[in-house]
């Protein structure tokens, strides 16, 4: 087991973790999917969550974002208790996510999809909308400008904005999904297997993008199976096995841990 003292101290130095789970438990019927997990994502960090198939990584993500109600444990995001809050409510605290199988809105253009991410910043009432009040127009214009900037940031040209999102290539769809999440101006971005289905070039590009997201001051928690990328990208890794934390700490050390290797490759009988 790798100790977490060094990084934990660093996290405390910048004002405590942005996201923390203490004793998180999730039950599905009689089955305990997550059995008492502690997890702390430091501010400004790229934190990786790895583990073999069925270890419960996506369940953790779903619990953090409110899709699944934890059966026990404390969840705090940016100092706010989030366990039991609704998905939209947690999202509006500054927690944005992407999905394992990209989930863009089918009939929408790229621009419109991204704009949905800014939903919480629109406040115009029905009359203001119907009569096209100046304030409502300005809010819309500002959001569109911001969306354009974000599309540029994730590496998509302006010509993509008017395309229906689901007609884009897989790699571009992933970028749109990230732009949509960033549009909510999150403090923490959760990425569920952002590299799945990408070719080698795309992987490098997306990994670069994740770094740039962090440079904007947004913390990142990501699930990913490509260990080479995780090794290079993450400040810290948490390994999950059977819904419990197996290891936590510096990526090199964690990946060299025989217990972690055994979790992936299996143990000889």
């Amino acid at each position: 087991m790798i100790t977490r003292t060094a990084s934990a101290a660093r996290a405390v130095a910048v004002g405590g973790p942005i996201l923390a789970a203490e004793g998180l438990r999730v039950r599905f019927g009689g089955l305990e999917a997550i059995g008492g997990l502690d997890l702390a994502v430091a501010r400004g960090a790229i934190h990786g969550l790895i583990g073999p198939n069925g270890a419960g990584k996506t369940t953790v993500l779903n619990a953090l974002t409110g899709f699944v109600r934890p059966s026990a444990g404390r969840l705090t995001f940016d100092g706010v208790e989030t366990a039991g809050k609704g998905v939209a409510e947690i999202a509006s605290l500054g927690l944005a996510r992407t999905f394992q199988n990209i989930r863009l809105f089918g009939a929408m253009t790229v621009l419109e999809s991204v704009l949905v991410g800014a939903h919480r910043r629109f406040h115009a009432g029905p009359l203001a909308l119907v009569f096209g009040a100046r304030k409502a127009r300005e809010a819309e214009r500002a959001a569109i400008a911001e969306a354009a900037e974000l599309l540029d940031f994730v590496g998509l040209g302006p010509e993509v904005a008017a395309r229906v999102a689901t007609t884009l290539s897989y790699g571009h769809q992933r970028r749109v999904e990230i732009a949509r999440a960033l549009m909510s101006r999150p403090k923490l971005l959760l990425l569920d297997e952002p590299l799945a289905g990408m070719n080698a070039v795309e992987k490098v590009e997306i990994a670069d993008l994740v770094r740039q997201v962090r440079e904007r001051g947004i913390s990142v928690l990501l699930i990913e199976h490509d260990m080479a990328v995780m090794r290079a990208l993450c400040d810290r890794l948490t390994v999950l096995e059977y819904g419990k934390r197996l290891a936590d700490g510096d990526p090199e050390a964690v990946l060299a841990d025989p217990a972690v290797q055994a979790a992936y490759l299996g143990r000889a009988r």
């Binding site: 290539s169 799945a196 289905g197 990946l255 490759l265 143990r267």
Partner: protein, 255 residues
């Protein structure tokens, strides 16, 4: 011979090298616009255990689902026992002798253990031998014998796995496909299932296996294919394969 019910022997034409029971060529599968497999070639020779290993998302399960016909092929061909089955419906493939024990077991939870077993023989016309087969399978899995009238959904994970395997064997397959048979099981149960895999092969049934425990899969198998990102990146016989090389594929270090 009482065991004949569940075993099928494949003998190659005399004088020729053994021809593969299952042969997959240039297999590609797409989920919508997303390609999950890019030109898989693999052969499974009769009487062998062949494994696919590789980390999550490598395309192992997708390959198995394509072989049993659940997923449509974008490109490629599948030959089984000398017959091109590429366009055959899944249920027809069961009739030809392919049984697939799916990931996460997928037993019919609301039905009894016996009903699950009887359903396993759905593709068979000869209902008369069914009782004998069930009796034989309860020798292989004694615990199932004690649970015959219990609802499958109430069994433990390991018991459900045994039931799923037994259900697959009820169709008297010549090829048994097993997807992650030990996933989520306790260590003792894992041992038991892996022993069972060998026992089934010993009866002459060919096995195509996807197993999370790569170390054991390599030890158990006659031939191992290593998959990564929808491709076969390495293959060798079970005794020759280099565990460190496989480990490198898993842990992201280039060996």
């Amino acid at each position: 011979m009482s065991a004949a019910g569940l075993t099928t022997h494949h003998t190659a034409p005399t004088g020729l090298p053994v021809s593969p029971l299952l042969s997959v060529r240039n297999l590609a599968v797409a989920y919508g616009r997303i390609r999950a497999l890019h030109g898989i070639d693999l052969d499974v020779e009769p009487g062998r255990i062949v494994s696919l290993v590789g980390s999550n998302g490598a395309g192992k399960s997708t390959t198995l689902m394509a072989v049993s016909g659940i997923l449509p092929l974008a490109v490629g061909s599948i030959t089984f026992a000398g017959e091109d089955i590429t366009k055959l419906a899944p249920e027809a493939r069961v009739g030809r002798g392919i049984a697939h024990v799916p990931e996460r077991r997928r037993v019919f939870g609301g039905m009894s253990v016996r009903e699950n077993l009887v359903l396993g023989a759905y593709s068979r016309a000869d209902a008369t031998d069914m009782e004998a087969d069930i009796a034989e399978l309860t020798q292989l899995f004694p615990i199932l014998g004690k649970r015959m009238s219990q609802a499958a959904g109430t069994l433990s994970g390991g018991e459900q796995q045994m039931l799923a395997i037994a259900r697959g064997l009820m169709s008297r397959p010549s090829l048994l496909i097993m997807d992650e048979p030990t996933m989520g099981l306790a260590p003792q149960m894992i041992d038991l299932i892996l022993d069972t895999v060998q026992a089934i092969r010993a009866r002459g049934t060919t096995i195509l296996l996807v197993e999370q425990n790569a170390v054991e899969a390599m030890r158990l198998s006659d031939h191992v294919y290593v998959m990564r990102l929808g491709r076969i990146v390495h293959q060798d016989s079970g005794s020759n394969i280099d565990p460190d090389r496989v480990k490198a594929f898993y842990m992201g270090v280039e060996a």
